[in-house]
């Protein structure tokens, strides 16, 4: 028996069209991204996977407005990158995007609460108020009792949870995580991903996770596979389940994937 869900168009947070990116000049010029078309929907965790050097980091840098694309256009929450330049882009990024980095990137001089409060302080909230709110966020990631610890006093997993609190404290609409489990052991990695699913997924927020850690694939609602600067395939959770549980469903799933390649997104498959 196969059940195909109606092709409901999910709300899109980020839309990339024809994104290219070159590095170098003249003879040394190389193209890292080859016309990427991708939609990142709200309310889901999208995993961006692929081997090292395939362009994942370049793509998320462009999505976040940290790097200029050579060609193509990106729309974030209805705003085109091209209309956001200079200080406006920086402010837009500060307000709408939260970051979780592979190496946590916590300021070593600040406590966990102060680190988590940074996006609010950057946005202009008074320090005490910001730190107070950051303490509440640390409670949600299970670190309320370590709010006054410095990063050097925390384990890798705890530091990554502080980074998640920092990424979420200002309630961004896009959460970008770059290899959040790469520096962690299996148990801590699982904890971090479970935490992300529990606290980060929200109907008004898109979560984009770059990873090549196949242990965390099960947490993705949608897996975007990249190879050599191109999107190889996009697979939804439903498609994966369908493919795994019913061999007969495979042709349908593949059919959906071919549609996916054309339109850059896959609808739910139940």
């Amino acid at each position: 028996m196969r059940i195909v869900a109606p092709l409901v168009e999910p709300a899109i947070a980020v839309s990339c069209r024809g994104i290219t990116r070159d590095f170098g000049d003249g003879d040394t010029r190389i193209r890292v991204l080859h016309g990427i078309d991708l939609d990142i929907p709200l309310g889901e965790i999208t995993l961006l996977v692929g081997p090292s050097g395939c362009g994942k980091t370049t793509l998320i840098s462009i999505v976040c407005g940290l790097l200029e694309p050579t060609g193509g256009d990106i729309t974030l929450f209805g705003e085109s990158h091209q209309s956001l330049r200079g200080t406006r882009l920086v402010q837009f990024r500060g307000k709408n995007i939260g970051f979780v980095f592979q190496q946590y990137n916590l300021l070593p001089a600040l406590t966990a609460a102060e680190n988590a409060a940074l996006p609010l302080i950057i946005a202009g909230m008074p320090r005490r108020q910001a730190v107070s709110k950051a303490r509440e966020t640390l409670e949600t990631v299970g670190l309320g009792n370590r709010a006054d610890s410095k990063p050097s006093q925390l384990s890798g997993g705890q530091q990554q949870r502080v980074a998640i609190a920092r990424a979420l404290v200002h309630e961004p609409r896009l959460l970008v995580c770059d290899e959040p489990t790469a520096a962690l052991d299996a148990q801590s990695g699982q904890t971090v991903m479970e935490l992300l699913r529990r606290v980060a997924v929200h109907p008004d927020r898109a979560v984009l996770v770059v990873t090549h850690d196949n242990r965390v694939f099960e947490y993705g609602d949608r897996i975007v596979s990249m190879t050599d600067g191109r999107i190889e395939k996009i697979e939804t959770r439903a498609q994966r389940i369908a493919v795994r549980s019913e061999p007969a469903a495979e042709p349908i799933a593949n059919e959906l994937l071919s549609v996916n390649r054309v339109f850059g997104s896959v609808d739910h498959v139940a």
């Binding site: 980091t57 998320i60 840098s61 976040c64 940290l66 790097l67 200080t87 920086v90 402010q91 990024r93 500060g94 307000k95 970051f99 980095f101 592979q102 990137n105 300021l107 070593p108 001089a109 600040l110 102060e114 940074l118 996006p119 302080i121 950057i122 946005a123 320090r127 770059d178």
Partner: protein, 378 residues
């Protein structure tokens, strides 16, 4: 964000103290060496400055400094007294003499011959004895440093004798005098007594010291004295600068000290600048992180400049304090007596440290500004 900048700076105590120490070391090098140079140059004019009563110094036209003298005839005093605008004019002798100590050793001394009646040019602070005792026969007053030089490790005692030009001199007082450039003892005697101690020469008078009448224009008076006497007349300030420039031009001191000061500046710049520059470069990823999170370049520049100002002010304060403390502690050491850090040197050091810190900030800011925030993903 100023608070974040402060935390980033002071978070690692060792690194923070290292940066402040680097700037402090640079400051102390610059301030200390410049102070020694300036104090040494000040010593060349100590005998001019000590004669506080005189407004104008009249001297032979061939005089190049207070230590390179050509004597005048005694009659010049009368000539100068006749110039309108002169309140009073007296003679002053300054020369080098050789004294024989009771133990048979010979020492070179600076002999100052003061006007017999007014004692203009006399030391201003007596430590032992009285200035009036100078009116006794063969009486001389010696400066404290000179006494220690002639009678090392001996208690201060009046009545000791010296022999100069086969004449006996009795020490009737010990005074405080600004140390001279050449570390010779200074003896004060009346003009006519000094004449007996000095080698015989056709002329004896070194200077005519002039006090101006109130309301007289110094430059105009000097011009009138020169016209009337044919001698050179300079204000105290002009004469002091002429002497300083003589030493700068005709000795190796400024070159040697200039090299030391320049080395102090370069080493100070290298240490302070490099330390702060490296600190910012080490924090590059943190700044990139802040940029990714929405901190503008302008804010980051403010943060770096705040860190620079804190480091600069603290380092400078410690450095200038150490320099001043050195001279305070050594003020009783004869060879360093009178050495100090003048406010001009303190100001110059502040400017230099400011320049160093701003330069290193600008260099590091450049790195931060061109930094792609995407570095956070690497």
């Amino acid at each position: 964000m100023n608070w974040v900048a402060w935390k980033m700076l002071t978070g690692d105590r060792t690194k923070y103290l290292g940066i402040v120490f680097g700037v402090a070391f640079g400051s102390v090098l610059i301030a200390h060496q410049t102070s020694i140079f300036v104090s040494l140059m000040r010593r060349t004019v100590s005998q001019i400055i000590d004669v506080a009563d005189a407004d104008v110094w009249v001297m032979n036209e061939n005089v190049q400094s207070v230590d390179e003298l050509r004597p005048l005839p005694d009659t010049e005093v009368s000539v100068v007294r006749g110039v309108p605008g002169v309140a009073w004019a007296v003679g002053l002798y300054k020369g080098m003499v050789t004294a024989r100590q009771p133990n048979g050793l010979h020492r070179q001394l600076i002999l100052m011959g003061l006007d017999d009646s007014s004692l203009v040019g006399a030391p201003r602070e007596m430590l032992y004895g009285s200035l009036a005792d100078l009116r006794q026969p063969d009486a001389v007053i010696i400066d404290k440093a000179g006494y220690s030089y002639l009678f090392p490790n001996q208690p201060y005692q009046l009545g000791r004798t010296l022999e100069m030009n086969d004449r006996r001199a009795v020490i009737v007082g010990i005074c405080k005098a600004s140390p001279p450039f050449q570390t010779f003892p200074i003896l004060f005697a009346r003009y006519n007594v000094a004449r007996q101690y000095a080698p015989r020469d056709r002329n004896f008078l070194s200077f005519v010291l002039v006090k101006m009448m109130p309301g007289t224009e110094p430059a105009k008076l000097c011009q009138q004295i020169q016209q009337r006497s044919g001698r050179v007349a300079l204000t105290t300030s002009q004469f002091a600068w002429m002497t300083v420039w003589y030493y700068i031009k005709s000795t190796g001191i400024p070159i040697n000290f200039g090299i030391t000061v320049a080395l102090g500046f370069i080493v100070g710049t290298a240490i302070a600048g490099q330390t702060f520059y490296l600190f910012t470069i080490e924090n590059l990823k943190q700044f990139g992180n802040l940029k990714a999170m929405g901190v503008t370049n302008l804010r980051i520049i403010q943060m770096i400049l705040l860190q620079a100002v804190v480091v600069g002010v603290l380092g400078y304060s410690i450095g200038i304090g150490m320099s001043a403390m050195f001279f305070e502690v050594t003020k009783d050491v004869t060879h360093l007596a009178g050495f100090q850090t003048p406010w001009q040197v303190a100001l110059m050091t502040a400017v230099a440290v400011g320049f160093i810190v701003v330069l290193s900030s600008v260099l590091s800011i450049r790195k931060v500004l061109v930094l792609e925030p995407a570095v956070v993903f690497r």
